[in-house]
């Protein structure tokens, strides 16, 4: 374990980590302040004029100074849609990781503390689920849901569906990490002491072991947010995620894609840059946390 002071010192000694943190913080600030700062509210039909559609960025010939990054096919300013759309992406990313962490930590604690057949069963389940790949699982689950509900009803539920599906599909990563820490902690004396004074297994797991498994959980959470955002973007790009009237970054890229052929590159390019910047920064931040807090934890391959 690292003291808070040593952690801060390492952080400021690493320009990549500081840079990544500044970018992520700036993006979050932009998203939170979008209702006040965005030039226009892309969800409000009164502020959108179809006559403004497909205008290039303001510095290109034919651009309009009202729309810094140009407009899309429906006349929404690309800058405004990005400011709102990034929020949707981040919300789904965080939401999915909360679900993953909740399921994964609970099952990981039980598997590690109880052992025996429960442990064997849960870990075998985790193996199978990891081998199928999250994206495959999510595509099939969402395809079935969207076919079952029909497009209108599905559009309203999409955000919850995405959080639930990405959340449930990725629980094994948390479960494995927590289980490994629990196995190490279980042998220590304080756990024996807690058991001897007659605390229930539930209390021991939650109040005594859980706090000591939080460091690796924090590290994978960061990387998992980036993965969840990419997965969401891919699903929305396939048309299985967020609808056009409440777009995430993936849905924005999807709606702009067909206009590349008519030369309107800005509708796709700017959301794409935003998405890559966000993912790369979160990943770099995650790498820094892993290297600093838990050098033994390797990414992607356990």
């Amino acid at each position: 374990m690292l003291s808070a002071r040593a952690f801060t010192r390492r952080f400021f000694g690493d320009p990549t980590a500081v840079g990544a943190f500044v970018i992520v913080a700036a993006v979050v600030a932009m998203v939170v302040s979008a209702p006040w700062l965005a030039p226009q509210n892309p969800y409000d039909p009164l502020q959108i004029d179809i006559m403004d559609s497909e205008m290039p960025p303001s510095w290109v010939a034919g651009g309009d100074e009202r729309f810094l990054l140009g407009t899309d096919a429906q006349g929404r300013g690309v800058l405004s849609t990005i400011m709102y759309g990034t929020g949707v992406s981040l919300l789904i990313g965080f939401g999915a990781v909360v679900v993953q962490a909740f399921i994964g930590i609970s099952l990981g604690l039980i598997a590690g503390y109880r052992g025996g057949w429960i442990d064997a069963f849960l870990m075998r389940l985790a193996d199978i689920q990891l081998s199928i790949s999250t994206l495959m699982l999510a595509i099939i689950a969402l395809a079935v849901f969207s076919a079952a509900f029909g497009p209108e009803a599905y559009a309203k539920l999409a955000i919850f569906m995405l959080i639930a599906v990405i959340g449930i599909a990725e629980w094994p990563r948390f479960a494995r990490t927590v289980r490994a820490s629990v196995l190490a902690e279980k042998k220590k004396e304080y756990v024996d002491a807690a058991r001897v004074i007659g605390l229930s297994p539930g209390t021991i797991m939650r109040r005594h072991i859980l706090p000591n498994t939080m460091t690796p959980v924090l590290v994978i959470s960061t990387i998992q947010v980036a993965e969840a955002i990419v997965t969401e973007a891919a699903l929305s790009f396939l048309g299985l995620g967020m609808p056009v009237n409440r777009p995430s970054l993936g849905a924005l890229i999807r709606s702009g894609f067909e206009f590349i052929f008519s030369g309107s590159w800005w509708i796709t390019l700017f959301p794409a840059i935003m998405l890559m910047l966000l993912i790369l920064s979160i990943n770099l931040l995650g790498d820094f946390m892993r290297d600093t807090l838990n050098p033994k934890l390797r990414r992607g391959d356990e």
């Binding site: 199978i128 495959m136 076919a147 973007a233 891919a234 396939l238 590349i260 796709t268 993912i279 990943n283």
Partner: protein, 328 residues
């Protein structure tokens, strides 16, 4: 020998997984489609409908219907596609060659780059080129596959106009009914951008894997012994070390099949490549239930077969593996 016991156990597991997939498939059919409405439309009275439902066995208990579904599935009958009005399995299998050739093209590309690249990065880990390759592979892992596809289309198809951006181009039908794009210039040109896209995501994964395995092999006793014997570096790298990295690479690589299938759906959608993944998304948009189920079952079968073969090969070839099914 206990190998036979292991074999049987592994095949048994594969059958159970397929049964679970088929139950999922059948539940989807049960919830999603009303085959009667597709057949008769609105103009039939309620009493007649009920009679027809009885005759078709739609009022039977769940398990009776499931067993009938399973029996038909084993015989290759997965229902009739609502949209194409043809057997769903036939529709899917007609698209298989397109997907297979895309995967083949991508595999050729990423293997021919990741093997020399990974080996080089393991042999000279401190050289600037190795650092550059490893840095590039991190960026490669961070770019979502559909963005790679969009950028390739934008640069090579829209701006430069040198590559086709969608479809399979001209194909030749082989005597056994396989439509191939490998034999025409147009077909090969159409394959370029989609294969690069699909390879771009597998390449960094494999490169890092080969590098890691190769570095591990280079640190083993027998490689150090080979150096001590004074063998030529080339012989040590390629005969002694590299050959021993192949097995883990094949197994871990084979287990990526689920990821690969998911990425073919994305690639095929961007390039409108007429393969199974593109067909699947179209079927979802048209709520063509039999086709959706047929895709899930075919893909599930491919997944289970590849996994089982990889497992068997790994266990049979590698003498260090203890057979899990043969302990007692």
């Amino acid at each position: 020998m206990h190998i036979l016991a292991f074999l049987i156990r592994r095949l048994f597991q594969a059958v159970i997984v397929m049964l679970i997939i088929s139950i999922i498939g059948f539940s989807i059919q049960d919830q999603l489609g009303d085959p009667l409405r597709e057949l008769v439309g609105q103009a039939v009275s309620v009493a007649e409908r009920e009679a027809l439902r009885d005759r078709m066995g739609l009022n039977d208990p769940f398990w009776t219907q499931y067993l009938r579904f399973l029996g038909n599935a084993v015989e290759g009958d997965l229902g009739t596609s609502y949209f194409f009005k043809k057997p769903a399995l036939k529709v899917i299998l007609a698209k298989f060659p397109a997907t297979f050739e895309l995967v083949l093209g991508a595999t050729f590309l990423f293997l021919s780059i990741s093997i020399p690249g990974g080996v080089y990065c393991a042999i000279r880990p401190r050289s600037w080129l190795a650092r550059f390759i490893m840095g590039g592979s991190i960026i490669g892992l961070s770019v979502p596959i559909f963005l790679t596809a969009i950028f390739l289309i934008w640069i090579f198809a829209v701006e430069l106009g040198v590559m086709p951006s969608f479809g399979r181009g001209e194909t030749v039908t082989m005597p056994w009914g396989w439509r191939t794009g490998f034999l025409t210039r147009d077909g090969l040109l159409h394959l370029v951008l989609p294969s690069i896209t699909l390879a771009s995501i597998m390449l960094p994964l494999f490169l890092r894997l080969i590098r890691a395995e190769m570095m591990e092999a280079l640190g083993t006793e027998y490689v150090r012994f080979a150096w001590a014997k004074g063998l030529a570096p080339r012989r040590i790298w390629f005969v002694h070390a590299f050959r021993n990295t192949l097995l883990p690479v094949v197994t871990i690589g084979g287990l990526q099949i689920g990821t690969l299938i998911a990425y073919t759906i994305l690639t095929e959608t961007v390039f409108q490549w007429p393969g199974m993944g593109f067909l699947f998304l179209e079927a979802v948009n048209r709520v063509d239930t039999p086709l959706i189920i047929a895709y899930i079952i075919v893909v599930g079968l491919i997944f289970v077969v590849v996994n089982t073969i990889v497992d068997l090969v790994y266990t049979l070839i590698n003498p260090m593996v203890k057979l899990p099914g043969a302990q007692g």
